[in-house]
């Protein structure tokens, strides 16, 4: 089985370790992994802000690029970027007719990382070890657009040494929301503060999730508040063998 990696620009530039950890886990599970070097961004920031023309240029580039791959699946360490391709490209951003068949084919084989392992590879134990108290934040797009809720939990529960603690309101938005975090920074910050209050009262050392963007928002605020709680992408935990 061959998987082509869809590494969002945020992961590429800011959290490359998480991308590499995803590679490690997939390879450990015996999957052949490829990476199309000329990929950049799926267009989500422009799309979410209303600049559909700009987003469409990138969507077309994305579709053409991945259409050229012979991989069986496309896997991304992000629910949000998977949503962009699987939901937004099709329903919300009008993509030219001639690219439709290619898009539909891509949509059928594109998966978020944790859902790919559980739903496609049918694995729930990736043989990882991790010592620490961890809570998981449900990223909105993964949860509500892709219905990813149990998959990451199932994987985490099978990690040796981990203590998984559910926080209250795990499903409530962290306040990131793309350009919203900057355009409405006050609201965004109040929202993440509520999330952080829940994280703290869960008494954990780590927060994890399937999206680096939410984790960047949570981490950014945790650091400003001098909290000792750390954020980790789920791939970082699943790659752990020590």
């Amino acid at each position: 089985m061959k998987v082509s990696l869809f590494v969002p620009c945020l992961t590429d530039q800011f959290f490359p370790q998480s991308g590499m950890n995803m590679v490690r886990v997939l390879e450990r599970l015996g999957v052949e992994v490829e990476y199309l070097d000329s990929q950049t961004c799926c267009g989500q920031p422009a799309f979410n802000t209303g600049y559909h023309d700009e987003a469409r240029v990138l969507a077309e580039k994305y579709i053409r690029l991945f259409d050229s791959s012979d991989a069986d699946y496309i896997v991304a360490p992000s629910g949000s970027c998977t949503t962009m391709v699987n939901i937004a490209y099709g329903k919300l951003l009008s993509i030219p007719e001639d690219l439709q068949p290619a898009l539909e084919a891509l949509q059928r084989k594109t998966f978020e990382f944790s859902a790919f392992i559980v739903d496609v590879l049918k694995q729930n134990d990736v043989g990882a070890e991790f010592a620490g108290k961890v809570t998981i934040h449900d990223s909105c797009h993964a949860l509500r657009e892709l219905h990813i809720k149990q998959q990451p939990r199932e994987l985490l529960r099978h990690v040796k040494g981990i203590e998984l603690i559910e926080m209250q309101h795990a499903e409530t938005c962290c306040g990131f929301g793309g350009t919203f975090a900057v355009k409405h920074a006050d609201i965004s910050t109040e929202m993440v503060d509520r999330k952080i209050a829940e994280i703290h009262s869960a008494g954990v050392e780590y927060v994890t999730g399937v999206d680096s963007s939410c984790l960047m928002q949570i981490e950014g605020r945790l650091r400003r508040l001098n909290s000792t709680v750390k954020t980790l992408h789920i791939a970082d935990i699943l790659a752990g063998d020590a």
């Binding site: 490359p16 979410n48 209303g50 600049y51 793309g178 900057v182 928002q217």
Partner: protein, 472 residues
């Protein structure tokens, strides 16, 4: 409260209105109490049904079909309402509706009007208009009465005064009604009851909204808990009901479904205390009830929404307010921050169409697009997708902020070319090393005031992948 100059209430000033409110701990407490209580009650009663999802999709299907054939249903409704003795009026916009109401009131020489809660009459600022014409128009729903006394807009579709604490209401009543100060909800309600009962008994006309209009019998349905809706439509000689064109349902059978969805979604009740089905004015031998029933069918921007293939489904809204309660942004800023009658997710979706893009085009940006609204909506409106749609329309119409537009252009050009992208990544890393310091933080306008922004990693994924490849 303070002598500070208040920001003018309009969605244009959304950011300033947010500023005024977001750090008010009392408001936050009131908001979180109200929304969390209602959400918990809702969850309890929704759990009655294993078929809740089927009920939602059935409702959405019925509504879609009605809206797609709205002309037929409206004509059918009109014919049946008229045959039962009602007078039906049509109003293209707020002004037209106002003058129809004024005409009716002048014809019956009305001096005092009792109003029962209605977002549609809020939308056309009817109370305000009537006051200007020298007609006393008293809001009789307790929450509406409170915001009327305070000279405010309702801050929630179904719970207009949810932003106020008992202390604030006690202070307001003492000041405006000249009574002894009390903060006891029971006592405050009793005071309102006394004042308003007099008004009910003396009123010349009652004005209500319409929750549902049943096409095949010309019946209007009014849903409420206090009994003010029933009193407004039982005591005065004239009843005027104002409804948007989208309120229609095909028949009684469908109505029963919508009643179940509405009560549960709005207040977490299984049914409200009073759900009135009114067809025509009083019957000839009835001992009470209005001699005349006027129904005003209002467009006011709704046909613009209808025309838009994406937005059309927002006409399915039954104004339950659940999307407000569940919205983390609404919970943080409250209804008044939006600067318009319709707040929260549904407000941000429809206001740009009702008020114009100039006025309300930025409302859809006050959302993190988390989708909790769409998840809870009893008629399955894809609210967060509609917000995205409205954002696109805003950019198309307004061109957006020129600097922002330029930024996205440049960004797109960069992202289009892998090489350019890599170079800019390098530059980013360079900036990170220069400005990031040991803290590995990059200053980002808007972000960094409250949060750290990570500096780019020393090596990008692309670089790490190359190294990984050579290791293999």
């Amino acid at each position: 409260m303070s002598g500070q100059k208040k920001v003018q209430v309009t969605p244009r000033n959304l950011k300033l209105l947010v500023q005024e409110r977001i750090y008010n701990p009392q408001l936050r407490k009131n908001l979180s109490r109200a929304t969390s209580t209602t959400l918990a009650k809702r969850a309890d009663v929704v759990a009655d049904f294993t078929q809740w999802e089927e009920m939602r999709s059935a409702a959405s299907e019925i509504k879609d079909g009605v809206i797609a054939n709205l002309d037929t249903y409206l004509e059918q409704f009109e014919e049946n309402a008229v045959s039962a003795g009602a007078t039906v009026h049509w109003a293209a916009d707020a002004q037209a509706a106002q003058s129809i109401v004024y005409q009716i009131l002048r014809d019956c020489d009305a001096k005092l009007v009792v109003k029962s809660k209605s977002m549609t009459t809020e939308e056309i600022r009817l109370g305000h208009f009537l006051e200007e014409q020298g007609i006393e128009a008293v809001e009789t729903d307790l929450g509406e009465y409170i915001v009327q006394l305070a000279g405010e807009l309702p801050s929630h579709i179904t719970a207009p005064a949810l932003h106020k604490s008992r202390e604030e209401i006690g202070e307001l009543f003492a000041k405006k009604l000249g009574i002894d100060r009390t903060n006891d909800p029971e006592a405050l309600t009793a005071i309102a009851r006394d004042v308003l009962r007099e008004k009910f008994l003396q009123a010349d006309a009652g004005i209500s909204g319409v929750n549902f209009a049943v096409a095949d019998s010309g019946t209007i349905c009014i849903v409420e808990n206090e009994g003010n809706g029933r009193l407004s439509t039982a005591l005065p000689k004239t009843h005027i009901a104002v409804m948007g064109i989208e309120k229609l349902l095909p028949d009684m059978q469908s109505l029963t479904l919508f009643l179940q969805l509405l009560a549960r979604s709005s207040t977490g009740q299984r049914i409200t205390s009073y759900t009135s089905l009114i067809r025509g004015p009083k019957a000839k031998d009835d001992l009470d009830g209005p001699e005349d029933l006027h129904i005003i069918i209002l467009d006011n921007g709704r046909t613009d929404i209808l025309e838009d293939d994406d937005l059309r489904e927002s006409l399915n809204c039954i104004r339950c307010g659940a999307c407000l309660n569940t919205c983390p942004v609404y919970q943080t800023i409250g209804g008044h921050s939006y600067g318009t009658q319709y707040s929260g997710p549904i407000g941000a979706v429809i206001s740009p169409s009702l008020l114009g893009v100039e006025e309300a085009g930025k409302m859809p940006y006050a959302s993190s697009l988390c989708g909790a609204c769409a998840e809870i909506c009893p008629v399955q409106i894809d609210l967060h997708h509609l917000l995205l749609h409205q954002r696109r329309k805003y950019i198309e119409r307004q061109g957006g902020n020129p600097a922002e537009r330029l930024l996205f252009r440049l960004w797109m050009m960069t992202m289009k070319h892998a090489a350019l992208y890599s170079v800019s990544g390098l530059l980013g890393r360079l900036a990170g090393t220069i400005f990031g310091g040991s803290n590995r933080t990059l200053p980002v306008p808007g972000w960094s005031k409250s949060r750290e922004f990570p500096a780019p990693a020393p090596k990008s994924f692309k670089q790490l992948w190359k190294e990984h490849g050579s290791e293999r």
